[in-house]
Symmetry: none
Subunit: 402 residues, 2 copies
């Protein structure tokens, strides 16, 4: 894969790269012949960047495949998501801002309701509301297992995440969730001998936790699933030689960035302007900036075509704050499409704009939108080509071979 | 490859997919600046589908590689033809409508002329005409080998095919054709010990067959080549979860479809309208329909530019019969190009049109032709992307990862 040979081509540079990801950016028209959300938005700033830069469209995973957020971002960062699997426990933990390093073991937890014999009567604790479940998770923080550090955090409704940190841990452990009601949870069992010590530690954690929550009205039982560790991704520094920073409001994206070694920048507020302000504050300290903008996806999932269009316009209006920092390479793209018409992530190609005053080749496209991108100078490329193109346009790569 | 992970993403759906393959569809202009066969044809129905859907162009195998019909169809069906090899014996047998299942062994046969010592004097039996050779093949049906079932069928001129069915068969057998005249045919020899039993059975078949044809004027000898079995392709049901049907007039395409587990629909007549009528009759029974239209290729191979154009117009005129069935996804493409100007299969990209009222992203292309397809919204894709795109647009795939 690309990142294996790229590292031999790296050369020092002072250039700065911004990868701005508008989540779920790609869309579909709602009327025959009509514009998509992006095409319908008035985006004079992005249109100027489109006219000066090069457009294209990316395939997030493979043609026809709809990505989840984790795999879609891995792909943008240059790691093939069909090769690297983040693991459910790790994804859940980093999604709520927990740190999962190499050697840590993370699991996803579900509260359940059990009867007085410990038999599961409801695998989701009656879909207990988040505010109630949060209080139960708070109590679980009292659990202490000798020899390791454990951290527990609430996710949503009946779901939480646990991370265990210490020496000699291994994630090859079976789920404790029996997947059915009418039986007791199964103990954490090692799939391989090397994980037996870890399984024992998790069983200690579970036993203490059960004791603490036994009198809860709904969440009086629990199961753990998806035991996983850090997915073994090489860091952005190792692979690309980039001091890299993540500017994101949502924990999930901060988490995935942390897995590839990005520093997380504190954002005060949650608008695009707030994100650009945070970026400006650390501009001198990094070479590469991943800026994640969430609401394009949220509006798409709500089926709110007009809202998605309007939100894109607010992002465009904020662009001068970013442009005035004078990045050498600015990429504006999405991680996948979320057409308001479908209300879910989709497989459609994703608009891609690369602006690089010193190196971009213009392609006669003058606006940023799906149809223009399909005709753009990059053609149809893999999202995994994003980082090599960014490095190249930032003059950070030597030539390959003599 | 795609089909390995796709099966984990399948979700149930009532949606219906039609893959309509106009054999050898892609063409070339005969005059500088002029239209191709497809561009010159008046195709109001396909043009409307093009305007509403998404265009692209496919690479059948790899850029620059001209495919045979077998590999080209494997690719359209999602099986990499550089990985899966149908085997000459199997291709020849399924090409004349014989069934080759896992464990069967098929071989291609050549009649030859031998002298009174059994020495080959003509490896193709004087290119004996088909009507004469058919009669000789008819006599070979009397051959019976204990313990197995054998089937023999005429192919063309001096060529025929044999299929052996039974327990414990193995195709690892050397050709009996010495490739030169002046020597005797070699016996069927096992390449590996596990094929010795099968080689012995084929030698019995050959001995009986030689006895039967010894008095023929030209075809008084024979050789067998290309011993092969079912290529081990997983079925469309296993890989895509599709109940699939093949609507084709030519045995070769029915044969390849059978190798991937499609049911073969009986077609009364041989026009495109006849094929669409057959499709309509079984519409309720299947999820996926492969419709194969042969004459675009035949006209191309004849070098008949005007004839290919005229034939495409008859297909377009029949389209309303297909459209009124209301497929959720309709793909119109070719397996390869057969430009009348070249009179043979070629490596040029193949026009690709996907129409899906609920999910297609329009691309401002308004007619179905090579130039429009090269500018289409899918860009240039592999023919192997056809099935994932069909499944995605039919909403038959879950998202990959969380």
């Amino acid at each position: 894969m690309s990142i294996d040979y790229l590292k031999h081509l790296l050369r020092p540079s002072e250039s700065k790269i911004v990868l701005m990801v508008m989540d779920g950016l790609g869309g579909l028209p709602v009327e025959p012949g009509g514009p998509t959300e992006l095409e319908g938005a008035s985006t004079p700033n992005m249109d100027r960047l489109a006219a000066e830069g090069t457009l294209g469209q990316t395939i997030p995973i493979r043609p026809g495949i709809t990505p989840g957020s984790g795999p879609a971002h891995l792909s943008l960062f240059g790691y093939d998501p069909l090769v690297y699997d983040i693991g459910r426990g790790t994804l859940e933990a980093v999604g709520v801002g927990m740190k999962v390093s190499k050697g840590d073991v993370a699991a996803r937890g579900n509260f359940s309701t059990v009867d007085d014999k410990g038999i599961i009567t409801d695998r989701r604790a009656g879909r207990i509301p988040s505010d109630e479940a949060e209080k139960v998770v708070e109590k679980l923080k009292a659990v202490k297992v000798p020899g390791v550090e454990t951290e527990v955090r609430h996710v949503k409704e009946y779901r939480f995440a646990v991370v265990m940190r210490g020496e000699g841990l291994d994630p090859e452990i079976e789920d404790t969730d029996p997947q059915i009601t009418g039986v007791m949870p199964v103990p954490a069992r090692a799939k391989l001998p090397k994980a037996e010590y870890t399984a024992g530690l998790f069983n200690q954690w579970i036993a203490q936790a059960q004791q603490i929550i036994r009198s809860e009205p709904k969440a009086n039982g629990l199961t753990l699933r998806g035991f996983a560790t850090h997915p073994g991704l090489a860091s952005f520094m190792d692979v690309y030689g980039l001091r890299s920073a993540c500017v994101a409001v949502y924990p999930m994206y901060r988490g995935v960035s942390q897995l590839v070694g990005m520093d997380i920048v504190n954002v005060v507020g949650e608008t695009t302007q707030d994100e650009f302000a945070a970026l400006a504050r650390v501009w001198k300290d990094y070479d590469f900036f991943f800026v994640h903008i969430k609401k394009t996806d949220s509006k798409g999932e709500d089926g709110d075509f007009a809202g998605k269009t309007a939100f894109i316009e607010t992002v465009d209006a904020a662009m001068p704050d970013l442009i005035k920092l004078k990045p050498d390479v600015l990429i504006i793209t999405g991680d996948h499409s979320t057409p308001a018409r479908l209300k879910v992530h989709s497989w459609h190609p994703v608009p891609f704009l690369l602006w690089a005053p010193a190196t971009a080749r213009p392609d006669d496209q003058t606006s940023f939108g799906e149809r223009a991108c399909a005709r753009g100078g990059f053609g149809t490329i893999s999202a995994m080509d994003t980082m090599p193109l960014a490095l190249a346009h930032a003059l950070r790569l030597n030539k390959y071979g003599a």
